[in-house]
Symmetry: C2
Subunit: 244 residues, 2 copies
């Protein structure tokens, strides 16, 4: 049995996230339809992450198994011909039979983009969050360092998650400014439901003086969602890099 690993990029604006759901347009659903059109049979496509509605991926990996001998190069071309313009397959490679895009992933990096200007940017409506008051990227970068380490991140997990082990290791976290865009970047071995978006909301609350930057460690230790900041909107979030 061949196990094919795909590298994707997608604009999540039009989708109810990655995972197939009844009566909802999803990236997995679109991909499984394209795979079925190319391979002539329905095959389950396993994704590396369950991105939420409106969340994007600069890099995303998934895999599926087939007996068919279509070359990897042809798979890329044929899938792209069967996918909408907001989902692209960049590469296909044959991997060992027991490889799984999600379980074999060592860590992931997410980025969150904030258009930080008085006036909205008409070109970033669906690919950045607009925040009109000046953000102090140095303050936020200092605050973000408190996320680094192995902790129970329950305070940074939205209700509705079925996960019981909420301990994660954050390997890197930073905030940088590029012109009017402020970018939060975070790498971890795994992420809880809405974890990055709650981190961003907390950093914005730090900027507003509602949370002290030195209190982030206490918020983590409280393991209480009520102590962390708001959940920032989905459209600024990108899965940026997946490490195997």
């Amino acid at each position: 049995m061949r196990n094919l690993k795909l590298k994707l990029m997608y604009n999540g604006k039009a989708y109810h996230g990655w995972q197939v759901q009844a009566n909802a347009d999803t990236v997995q659903g679109r991909l499984e339809s394209a795979v079925e059109a190319v391979f002539g049979e329905h095959l389950t496509v396993y994704g590396c992450s369950r991105t939420d509605a409106g969340v994007h991926a600069n890099e995303y990996f998934c895999n599926f198994r087939t007996e068919k001998s279509i070359s990897c190069e042809s798979v890329v071309k044929a899938l792209n011909a069967n996918l909408p313009d907001d989902i692209a397959v960049f590469a296909c490679e044959e991997v060992r039979e027991d490889f799984h895009s999600r379980f074999d992933c060592k860590s992931k990096r997410y980025v969150y983009k904030i258009w930080n200007s008085q006036i909205k940017n008409p070109f970033l409506t669906h690919t950045a969050c607009h925040y009109k008051y000046r953000l102090d990227e140095n303050l936020l970068n200092e605050a973000a360092q408190s996320f680094i380490g192995t902790y129970d991140f329950k305070a940074f997990c939205s209700a509705g998650s079925s996960v019981t082990d909420t301990v994660r290791t954050v390997k890197a976290a930073s905030v940088v400014r590029q012109g009017d865009t402020v970018i939060f970047s975070v790498e971890a071995d795994g992420f809880l439901y809405n974890m990055v978006r709650i981190m961003v909301g907390t950093l914005i609350n730090v900027n507003e003086g509602k949370i002290d930057k030195n209190d982030i460690q206490y918020i983590i230790r409280s393991a209480d969602r009520a102590n962390a900041g708001v959940t920032a909107p989905a459209q600024g979030l990108f899965l940026d890099k997946v490490f195997y």
Copy 2:
């Protein structure tokens, strides 16, 4: 009578161009509705350029006249509150009563963005043209120099234009590469119908070997649309800068 000049930015994807038309959603239509909501009366908004359907503006100026004394700062805020997310007002200033956004404009710069990679970019579907074969930006930049000067550009004007004087002065033209994006930039005292898009199509035909770069001058002199290249699609085109 006050004459107010607005500086805009818009994503043209959703619009049938700038100019008000029956039964079509246009940027001018949206702006006149916002002005009416703020000023309580219908006022004609005069634009600097009639951009086509799907064409964008990084910078656009328009003006309208009113007796109302709302401050320029309040006009910016109130218009933005009444405009959709893909149209933004960046500034408002009071100008002399006979100022006209189009007739007083000395020159304009357009840019045309091409995503030049084998695989489409899901984030640039509506803001760049996808061209999958490798473009030689040095060759295209050399070819683009032939556009510079004062010529009858009738060969670079689509049928359907009512303009009789087709002489224009191109002040600058260049092609540069930024990673996988190739950008054609052109400044002129005025542009004919589809002029930039036909220039881009001609440059792509030069890259494909269908037109020799030294023949552009002959094409201009022929004044025959049939000799120039194809009309490149609208979504890569941006009005980039307007000079007064």
